[in-house]
């Protein structure tokens, strides 16, 4: 019977073309609006490293002076000071630790036909690659010895390596970077975290990935300027050394624990570290030391834009309107078929059968609307992707969203069809037959 009703449903699409087209289009537009905004929200808020996001922790220690402070106030910056980051690196907490800051610098391509250009990257410690699952195409991360010496070594991204050296293994080659000769030790495979939680500073968290990596110690030794924000509460002295020693926040630290349960251990280390620093005259605010896992960090830093949420809400409001509209149209469509229902009922069809038939018919409308809505959503996402690189990274439909589109459209159609279908079941055969 299902297949037959399905066929009937398809056929009835043609019966009242104007009304049906209106219904399908209304549903499609509603589905398209909600799916396209939901796709962006989904991509923005998706966990970029799901299998270990619960055991990667980022600490915040508020170094600002006591004045200007009301207890409970949110810290100005989402970074920490260089001395605190160094102490966390040395702490032995968890299984791995890293500290990092964004860098940008000039590069002199070995191939003369490319003029010098600027590239953006990261200065982490070597554990960063293992902590964030960075895959390598050639070579590997720099060694601990390199890191200890602050050696001039660099890891390039795959697109950057290809741009500079073509399609060969560049490990061991020399590269003039920011005025110093670096040795290439590795090339990362194409790797992009969306959002790039490890450093929510300097540029959009959804923009392109890193182009190169140099050891933190090397960056500090060469006094490489950081690329991103810095928050200072007092007036600091001139020069790079003063910044390193200052209470300015410009570094991010990460701790990878063996399990999510080690959180309290890390928290208590942070608290005892902070009280020890207070004895040395720092951290006057005595503000709570905060520790976030990846989802908590995304929540705290508000990476998911308010605009994205706003759009999604409005789009779902719009879908609700489309639903109400479809209910009205379905009522109209079914009401003219009262006599047909009367005949079926008189010939022995039960109410359940009528209910089934008309519900399947609305599902057909929902499916057609869903397919059209999906096409419209893909078009809308293409349009949205034109508005900048970050958006182009976000406006991408995945299988999850495809499935969700299907579910939303059918669910919407069934929801819209319930009342009209119930009404159709209420038809009394006698009256219908009499009036014919």
């Amino acid at each position: 019977m299902f297949a037959y009703y399905f066929k009937l449903g398809l056929r009835s699409l043609r019966r009242n073309p104007a009304l049906t087209a209106l219904m399908v289009i209304t549903l499609a537009v509603g589905v398209a609006a909600s799916v396209s905004t939901l796709t962006i929200l989904h991509m923005m808020s998706s966990d970029p490293i799901p299998h270990k996001s619960a055991r990667l922790f980022v600490p915040l220690i508020d170094p600002d002076p006591l004045d200007n402070y009301t207890p409970g106030q949110k810290q100005d910056d989402i970074q920490i000071t260089y001395p605190d980051a160094m102490n966390i690196l040395k702490s032995g907490l968890g299984v791995r630790r890293t500290a990092l800051y964004g860098v940008a610098g000039s590069v002199e391509p070995p191939r003369r036909e490319i003029p010098p250009f600027n590239m953006g990257g990261l200065a982490p410690t070597r554990d960063f690659f293992a902590m964030f699952d960075v895959p390598f195409a050639y070579g590997q991360a720099w060694t601990e010895a390199d890191e200890a010496r602050g050696a001039d070594v660099v890891v390039l991204s795959r697109p950057m390596a290809e741009k500079l050296y073509g399609d060969v293994n560049p490990v061991g080659k020399r590269l003039n970077l920011m005025g110093f000769p670096y040795t290439v030790v590795g090339v990362t495979e194409k790797w992009k975290m969306l959002p790039r939680v490890y450093l929510l500073q300097g540029g959009s968290p959804y923009a392109t990935g890193e182009e190169f990596f140099i050891p933190l110690a090397t960056a500090v030794r060469h006094e490489t300027q950081h690329n991103g924000g810095m928050s200072c509460s007092g007036n600091i002295g001139p020069g790079f050394a003063a910044r390193l020693a200052s209470d300015c926040t410009w570094v991010t630290a990460w701790i990878e624990a063996a399990s999510a349960g080690d959180r309290s251990e890390i928290q208590s280390w942070l608290d005892s570290y902070a009280s020890q620093q207070r004895k040395l005259g720092r951290l006057k605010r005595n503000a709570p030391n905060r520790l976030f896992d990846v989802p908590g960090w995304m929540e705290y830093t508000g990476v998911v834009g308010k605009d994205a949420k706003l759009q999604t809400w409005l789009a779902f409001g719009f879908l609700a309107l489309c639903l109400v509209n479809t209910i009205g149209l379905l009522l109209a469509k079914f009401s003219v078929r009262a006599s047909e229902i009367g005949v079926r009922r008189a010939l022995g069809a039960s109410r359940t059968e009528i209910f089934r038939q008309f519900l399947i018919e609305t599902v057909v409308v929902g499916l057609v609307g869903g397919v059209l809505g999906l096409l419209l959503a893909v078009g809308a996402l293409k349009l949205i992707a034109l508005s900048g690189k970050a958006m182009a990274n976000l406006a991408q439909m995945d299988w999850q969203m495809l499935g969700l589109t299907f579910v939303i459209s059918v669910f919407a159609a069934v929801l819209a069809g319930l009342l009209p279908t119930w009404r159709a079941c209420q038809v009394t055969p006698a009256i219908q037959l009499k009036s014919q």
Binding site: L19, L22, T26, V29, A33, T37, P65, D67, N68, S106, E108, P115, P116, F117, N118, N176, M178, G179, F180, E223, Q225, G234, N235, I236, G237, P238, G239, F240, G305, K306, D307, K309, L310, Q311, W313, L314, A315, G317, F318, A320, L321, C322, V324, N325, I327, G328, L329, L331, A332, S335, V336, I384, S387, G388, M391, L419, R423
Partner: protein
């Protein structure tokens, strides 16, 4: 006179009217809020930058390969500034620390008194050894521009110098000293005992900050008379071309800079127009999306009203015929349907006003939006009343054209 019978007819068959009213209510609520948001964004994008003829201004970011000493950098800045000034069609050149709306720059907290520990305002800091009033085309409304001896060279790698005098924007002056003249007054960089005093030498009408925040902070800028070098981040120049010559000047400036440098240079040219459109790109996208949804809302609601009204007309053909046969004129039938629709729309409009306020309340509390001015709801109500009348006119006209003879024949 007709309202009572129409009302009792509506009460007998509630589903359809409720659906239409619900549609009107939902659309009105969303439309009013969406248009409010769009208008607010437009206001933000339409804020003046304070620069005269923005289209004539561009920035150049210059990086040199290799590591230069701070002294070499200072020599470079002076030489490159001269090279740029010599390009024909260049009206003014300034080496500067940040550019308006470029989304990269620094802020400082400002205080009125050394004893206070809470800042009075946050200023966006423009550090330049040249006249930004000339290069940006700012309007000086009080006081004076910097004099040549006040423009000092500062090696950022070794010294930390606070300027004895600065120029601020009028909105910042108003914030610090409401209703009073700012010129000659003293303010402090930072708060607390370490705060450094400076005097206000001049006030410019406006200059938007580098980040173009979406609040009043965007207009709080401070001009500092220093040629800063040795920071190791490349050098930024603001260049004003003669009107209409920007694109040609950019090409010639690039050639001139490359020719003048013994080392290869990395040059990055960006016009202020590009900075502005990059800064507001997301805002424009949101606005267009909201406008599209608003238009679709109107279309869908209109379709809904037409559809339901047509249905009612079809269902009541016989009754209309009877009424006509009993002496009702066409105009009476037309009026009946339009009035009926008006009543339904009105119910929707009242519901929509309440729903709109509730939605706004939600947006205010969850997404930090501003309150919805009543004007949007009133305008929305008028729009939907008109929409209701226009949309129901077609079906009502068809109802009125039903001839009594055909309608009563089948009875």
């Amino acid at each position: 006179m007709e309202i009572r019978p129409i009302f009792s007819a509506l009460m007998r068959n509630k589903t359809g009217p409720i659906l239409v009213a619900l549609q009107v209510a939902l659309s009105l609520a969303i439309l009013a809020n969406a248009l409010h948001i769009v208008n607010e964004r437009r206001g933000i994008m339409g804020r003046p930058s304070g620069m005269a003829d923005e289209h004539a201004v561009f920035r150049i970011n210059v990086r040199t390969l290799g590591n230069e000493t701070p002294e070499q950098q200072l020599a470079d800045i002076k030489r490159q500034s001269e090279v740029l000034r010599a390009v024909s069609g260049v009206a003014a050149v300034a080496q500067v620390s940040q550019m308006p709306l470029s989304t990269s720059g620094s802020n400082t907290s400002l205080a009125l008194d050394q004893r206070q520990n809470k800042e009075s305002a946050v200023g966006s800091v423009y550090v330049s050894g040249d006249s930004l009033i000339k290069t940006f085309g700012l309007k000086l409304v009080e006081g004076r521009d910097f004099l040549a001896p006040e423009l000092v060279d500062v090696n950022e790698a070794t010294e930390n110098v606070f300027p004895p005098g600065v120029i601020i924007t009028r909105p910042l002056a108003e914030k610090l000293w409401p209703g009073a003249s700012a010129v000659g007054k003293t303010m402090y960089f930072g708060t607390g005992a370490e705060a450094q005093p400076t005097r206000i030498l001049g006030v410019v009408e406006n200059l938007i900050s580098a980040h173009g925040e979406f609040n009043e902070r965007a207009m709080h800028s401070v001009l500092i008379p220093q040629r800063a070098y040795g920071g190791g981040r490349g050098t930024l120049y603001a260049v004003r071309a003669e009107p209409g010559q920007r694109d040609r000047v950019m090409k010639e400036a690039e050639a001139a800079l490359r020719k003048s440098s013994p080392l290869p240079l990395i040059l990055d040219f960006t016009t202020t127009d590009e900075d502005r459109s990059n800064k507001y790109r997301g805002t424009v996208t949101v606005s267009w999306m909201l406008i599209t949804v608003s238009l679709l809302l109107l279309v869908v609601t209109c379709c809904g009203i037409v559809g339901m009204a047509s249905l009612w007309v079809t269902q009541r053909r016989k009754q209309i015929g009877v009424r006509r046969a009993l002496g009702a004129r066409r105009i009476d039938v037309l009026r009946y349907f339009i009035l009926e629709n008006f009543m339904i729309t009105s119910a929707g409009v009242f519901g929509g006003v309440a729903l709109g306020l509730a939605l706004n309340q939600l947006l205010v509390s969850k997404l930090e939006m501003t309150r919805l001015p009543g004007g949007y709801l009133i305008a929305g109500a008028v729009v939907f009343w008109l929409l209701g009348i226009v949309a129901s006119y077609g079906p009502a006209w068809r109802a009125a054209s039903i001839s009594p003879a055909t309608a009563t024949r089948s009875v």
